[in-house]
């Protein structure tokens, strides 16, 4: 359960995507611990139609988020945080993106239109990202370049196949992301 006592550096990568895209499965495939869940409170404005004062109510909601851990060396541990991509969680995004290396954005080729809001948030928070195309059973292989075009991604943004149930595929998507981060430094 405990980290290696020499581990001094914790880094994080966000696994981002819309509801049901496979974030938790992806994290579970590569995490060295059983994925854990944090509960946190966010405040959001709720629309109350009976309220004649015109001021939106603030309500508190608890959001559950899954995460995993991967020790990468004697000194470095990586945490993977599943991050919901809805606009209403942007308060949480400020904390999650602070110090994050980047993001793996998971997309479902059958539901690409649901990924626009996610990509919008990722770009707004200035995260470097790689797009992982999850392949679900029964769906035909989706040409990656069509995904790039449909999502209007830049030529530089890596787009990789990412069967989230497959440890190697999920790891390869992370490796692509880190290589991409390194390429931006040189």
């Amino acid at each position: 359960m405990y980290l290696d006592p020499n581990v001094t550096t914790a880094v994080k990568i966000l696994v981002v995507g819309h509801f049901g895209v496979g974030k938790t499965t992806c994290i579970g495939s590569i995490s060295e611990i059983e994925p854990l869940r944090t509960e946190e409170e966010i405040t959001e404005a709720s629309v109350n139609y009976d309220d004649l004062s015109g001021t939106p109510d603030k309500t508190t909601t608890t959001v559950a988020m899954d995460f995993g851990r991967l020790t990468l060396s004697d000194q470095v541990v990586l945490y993977l945080f599943g991050t919901p991509g809805q606009e209403r969680f942007k308060e949480m995004w400020e904390d999650l993106t602070r110090g994050a290396l980047g993001a793996l954005v998971l997309v479902d080729p059958e539901r690409l239109d649901e990924s626009f809001a996610v990509l919008d948030l990722v770009e707004r928070f200035g995260l470097t990202y790689t797009v992982g195309v999850n392949r679900f059973q029964g769906t035909t292989d989706y040409p990656l370049e069509e995904v790039r075009e449909a999502l209007a991604l830049s030529d530089e943004t890596p787009v990789v196949p990412c069967d989230v149930r497959d440890e190697k595929a999920a790891a390869q998507a992370l490796i692509t992301l880190v290589n991409h981060l390194l390429s931006l430094l040189s």
Binding site: T9, F19, E41, L72, P84, R98, A171
Partner: protein
């Protein structure tokens, strides 16, 4: 009004209510600054902290027990205790004030990630997954 359909909850985002009000658990203290006791801050109990821990609240004691023998991230403390992240952060700040826990802060956010660190991450991933 009452027969309006309820908005469908999103299954992934569990909405829960606490059994004990959290201001009781936290003794009314407020959250530490955002960059303190973040999800990836690593925490461990100090070696000689066990005796003093007896006087703490049950929740703070649970946190102390959890990190008694090594380092865990703040997120893991929240995950294992089932306490909301905010509550865990407040409890840890309190325990640190009382000199009962050690914290290793995550790397400070930089404009660009450090090259050496990225290489360490890359090598670690490749070694682990044989890629």
């Amino acid at each position: 009004m009452s027969d309006e359909p309820e908005p469908e909850p999103e299954a992934e985002l569990e909405l829960t209510a606490p059994l004990v009000p959290f201001f009781v658990v936290t003794g009314g203290r407020s959250l530490p600054p955002a960059h303190e006791y973040e999800r990836t801050t690593l925490v461990s109990a100090k070696r000689d902290a066990a005796a003093e821990a007896r006087t703490l609240s049950p929740e703070a004691r649970e946190v102390m027990r959890l990190v008694a023998d090594g380092f865990l991230s703040v997120a893991e403390v929240a995950g294992h205790t089932g306490l909301p992240l905010g509550v865990v952060r407040i409890l840890l700040a309190e325990l640190a004030d009382e000199d009962l826990v050690l914290a290793r802060k995550p790397i400070p956010p930089a404009e660009r990630p450090d090259k050496e660190l990225l290489h360490a991450v890359l090598d670690g991933l490749k070694t682990r997954f044989g890629a």
